[in-house]
Amino acid sequence: MDNKKIIKNLKNLRSLEAAGAPRELWLLSNRETLMSQIKPAPAPEYQAAKTDGVYYWQYFSGLFKQKVLQPAVSFISILMLMLTYTAMASVASASLPGDMLYPVKATGEKVSIALTFENDKKLELQMNFVGRRVDELTQLAKKDETTEVKARKISLAVKKLTQDVQSVKDNLDKISVKPEDSKVVEVAKVIDSKTLEVEQNIALVHQQLPEEVKGEVAQDVQKAISTAEEAGTSALGVIVENHNSGENKVSESEVTSRVAERIKNVEQNIAQVQLSALQVSTTTV
C-alpha cells in the first residue's frame, strides 16, 4: 500500500467511532454539562460585558508592542550608544597622555588595529599611530605647565610611544619570516624611514624641554630612542635579506643609502650620549 492510499484511509477513519470519533449526542450533552459548570451567575447590570472591539484592541496592541515598539526601543538605544561613543571618540581624538579621555583614544586605536586583518596593513596602521605619539609628545612639550605635571605627562607619552614602537618591531619580526614577500619589504621600508624620523624627533623634543624636565625624563627618552633604533634595524635587516635573496625588490643603491643613513644616525646618537655624559660630569664637577 502506498503513502497516498494509507493517508486516504486514515482520513476515512476520521468519522468512525472505532477510530476515535465521538458520538454527537455525547458531544452535545457534555457541552451542556460543561457550560453549566463554568457559567457564572448572571452579572449585575452595571458590569458591562467586554465587546469584541476590546479583544481586537488587546490583540493588536500586544502585536504592536511586540513587533514595533520593542524593536524600535532597542534600535534607538543602540543608536544613542553609537552617537555617544562617536561624540566621545571625536573629542578624545584631540586628547593627550594624562587627559581624562586619552584612554578612549587608546582603545579606539586598539580596536582599529584588531579590525585590520592583513599584517602589512596592520603594521602601517601601527606606524601611523607611532607618528601620533610623536605629535602628542611635541604638543605636550609646548604646553605651559608646572615642572612636575609636565614631567609626568611627557614620561607617560614617551612610555606609550616606546610601547607602540615595540609592538611594531614584534609584529615585523613575526611577518619577516618571508622576506621575499613584496608586501613585507614595502612595509619594512616604511618602518626603516619612519623610525629614523621618530628617533630624530624624540631627540629634538627632549633637547627643547626645560632642564628640570629633561633630567626627569632622560631615561624614558633614551629607552624610546633605542627601541626605535632596534625596530629600524630589524626593518633594515628585512630589506637587506630581500636584496640578498635575489628577489630584486630593492636595488643595491637603495640598500647602500639606507645602511649609510642608519650608520649616520647611530653615530649621531653616540655623539649625543657622549655629550650628555660630558655635561653630567661637568655639572658634578
Binding site: M1, L16, E17, A19, G20, P22, D52
Partner: protein
C-alpha cells in the same frame, strides 16, 4: 476555524475567562482531544470521562488567573497528563485491543456501518495504526485524522518543525510496514 485572526481573538477571550468563548473553544477542540485520548486508553467510556475532565481542568486553570502562553499546546498537555493520571489511578493492565484492532464499544448501540467498513481494507489501516508505538500513532492521528499543521503539531509535542517532519515520515513508514504485514 480557518481564520487565524479569529482564532487568536477567540483564544484571548478564553484566556479572559469568557464562558461563551470557552464554549466555542470546546467545539473547536473536543473531537481532537477525544481522539487523542481514545488512541491512548482504547475505551469509549474512559475517553468520555477523561475528555470532560480535561476541559474542566483547563477552565479551572484559567479561572485561577494562571498565565497560558500557548492554549493549543496547553490543552494537549492537560490531556496527556490526564491520561497518565488515569492509568496511575486505575492501575489497570492495558487491554490488548490492539491484537484484533477493534476497540471496546461502550453500549449496544454500536456503529453497524462502522463494523462493516472495518471488515474492508480500512481495518488493516486501523490495525496497523493501533499496532504502532505510541509516539508514531500520536503524530499520525494529529496530522491525518485531526488535520493539524506541522507548526501546530510542533507546539503540541514541543518539538521543532524539522523533528516533526522526520517523525511523521518514520511513523508513516512504520504504518506502511504494519499494514503490509
Amino acid at each position: 476555524m480557518k481564520n487565524p485572526l479569529a482564532q487568536k481573538i477567540l483564544f484571548l477571550k478564553v484566556k479572559n475567562q469568557d464562558p461563551d468563548a470557552y464554549g466555542q473553544f470546546y467545539d473547536l477542540y473536543v473531537k481532537r482531544i477525544y481522539r487523542f485520548i481514545f488512541f491512548k486508553v482504547n475505551s469509549v467510556s474512559d475517553t468520555q470521562d477523561i475528555t470532560s475532565e480535561v476541559f474542566l481542568k483547563v477552565w479551572q486553570y484559567l479561572k485561577e488567573g494562571k498565565e497560558v502562553k500557548n492554549l493549543n499546546a496547553f490543552v494537549y498537555l492537560i490531556a496527556r497528563n490526564s491520561v497518565v493520571d488515569f492509568f496511575r489511578a486505575r492501575q489497570r493492565q492495558a487491554e490488548n485491543l490492539q491484537t484484533d484492532g477493534l476497540p471496546e464499544v461502550a453500549d449496544k448501540n454500536q456503529d453497524l456501518l462502522g463494523r462493516q467498513i472495518l471488515e474492508s481494507d480500512l481495518n488493516s489501516t486501523l490495525k496497523g495504526l493501533n499496532n504502532l508505538k505510541d509516539e508514531y500513532r500520536e503524530i499520525i492521528v494529529l496530522r491525518f485524522l485531526d488535520e493539524l499543521s506541522i507548526s501546530e503539531i510542533a507546539e503540541v509535542l514541543n518539538k521543532s518543525k524539522g523533528s516533526v517532519r522526520i517523525l511523521l515520515h518514520r511513523a508513516l513508514k512504520a504504518l506502511k510496514d504494519n499494514v503490509s504485514h
